[in-house]
Homo-oligomer: 240 residues x 2
């Protein structure tokens, strides 16, 4: 074993280091103490918090090492929990992994979900979408989740299925609707584009990959790239 320390590593600043904190303080039930940093006295709340800590820790480890190379010992240590505790919440390593992806997908979708833009132009809608995507995904750790899905997806059909169903098909359907609106309005001059909404998001996908592989060789201004791409779709540049 070796590897780093024997104490919780806690790469996730959010909620972790406290689980041991108040055990001496007021292990008993009364005094409803600071609920934000003290261990909640309720068992269910406590359990839920542990579960989240495990998922957060697993996220870091799986993203950093990939599925096979991740050790549950490390996940446990990082979560500030004993290894056995993981098995109180998840059937096995694979279940933890799949649950992790599922958990990560939801906020991902919410982040970049249908930008409900009432009166704007179609270009603005798509540009807003792209800006959100690039800022909230391509730049952050969420990008690694996407890379993780690409990397492990073929070996975990359940994950690929889930991702296709929850993200890809919905996203493309929404995008297609927007494109068709743009065609109807005359903003988009290439009607065939509605057949391949993938074309619209392709540069964003490429940006995600680029960031994780080649950013250090040659930085990429993803947002600017996407604007140029939009110029191809909508015509001449507009002010931003």
């Amino acid at each position: 074993m070796a590897k780093t320390s024997s104490k919780p590593v806690n790469a996730v600043p959010a909620k972790s280091a406290k689980q041991r904190a108040g055990k001496a303080a007021q292990g008993r039930t009364h005094a409803p103490p600071d609920p934000a940093s003290e261990p909640p006295s309720g068992r269910v709340a406590r359990a839920a918090e542990r579960r989240e800590a495990i998922i957060a820790a697993a996220m870091d480890e799986f993203v950093g090492r990939g599925y096979a190379a991740t050790r549950l010992d490390d996940v446990a240590r990082r979560a500030g929990v004993a290894k056995g505790t993981i098995y109180l919440h998840f059937k096995d390593k694979e279940a933890l992994f799949e649950e992790l992806i599922r958990t990560a997908i939801v906020p991902l979708v919410n982040r970049i979900a249908p930008p409900p833009n009432p009166g704007g132009s179609v270009r603005d809608m798509i540009e807003l979408f792209a800006r959100t995507f690039i800022q909230e995904v391509a730049t952050t750790q969420r990008a690694d989740i996407i890379r993780l899905i690409v990397a492990e997806g073929p070996r975990f059909p359940a994950i690929a299925d889930f991702y296709y169903r929850e993200v890809v098909s919905r996203g493309l359907a929404g995008l297609r609707a927007v494109i068709e609106l743009g065609i109807a309005r005359g903003e988009v001059r290439q009607p065939e584009l509605a057949r391949f909404p993938q074309i619209v998001v392709a540069p964003a996908i490429v940006a995600v990959i680029w960031k994780s592989l080649f950013e250090k060789h040659s930085p990429l201004d993803a947002l600017e790239m996407f604007r140029v791409h939009l110029d191809l779709i909508f015509g001449e540049r507009r002010a931003t």
Copy 2:
């Protein structure tokens, strides 16, 4: 898992046995046997063949399982070789993996390399490039190599560096030159495109990912998608 047979599988039919064909039948055999399936008698030739068999086997295993989950026992079995033999040719698992990628990159580059198209239009040049790429890569096992690089690249900087240097930077430079030619000729109407050649290849990249993750959910006509994309760059559709 899998296991398959205990005999060599030899997934790469190409040049496994023939390179030593001529002088082969000397060692002790009389009747010149089928040079395509008999082991060559020369020790060096034999060794080279084994090395190739190991790489071919490693390719299948690494692509199918990822780096960490691949067992060298399986590679050896698939190559029809004892495990120790692997270590006569490669320092360790990591060296085998990196060498494998290196070996795979060269034919990849040659396949889709500068399409020396003299008189044609820029669109034709790019379309030929895309067609070659999609037919020779996106459709074949080579796509898995790309996925493998995306998946493992962050953990193997040497591989990411190599890939960037040998493929990405050169490819983009060539593409940029072609784009600038197109701008000069007036074929490409968006001069900014030269700043982001990634946009041109993005749909091809997306096609590679799509094929390996979602093809079964929803088949994608990559070539047609790319044509639509070219329409965005060059304007109205041309006959093909």
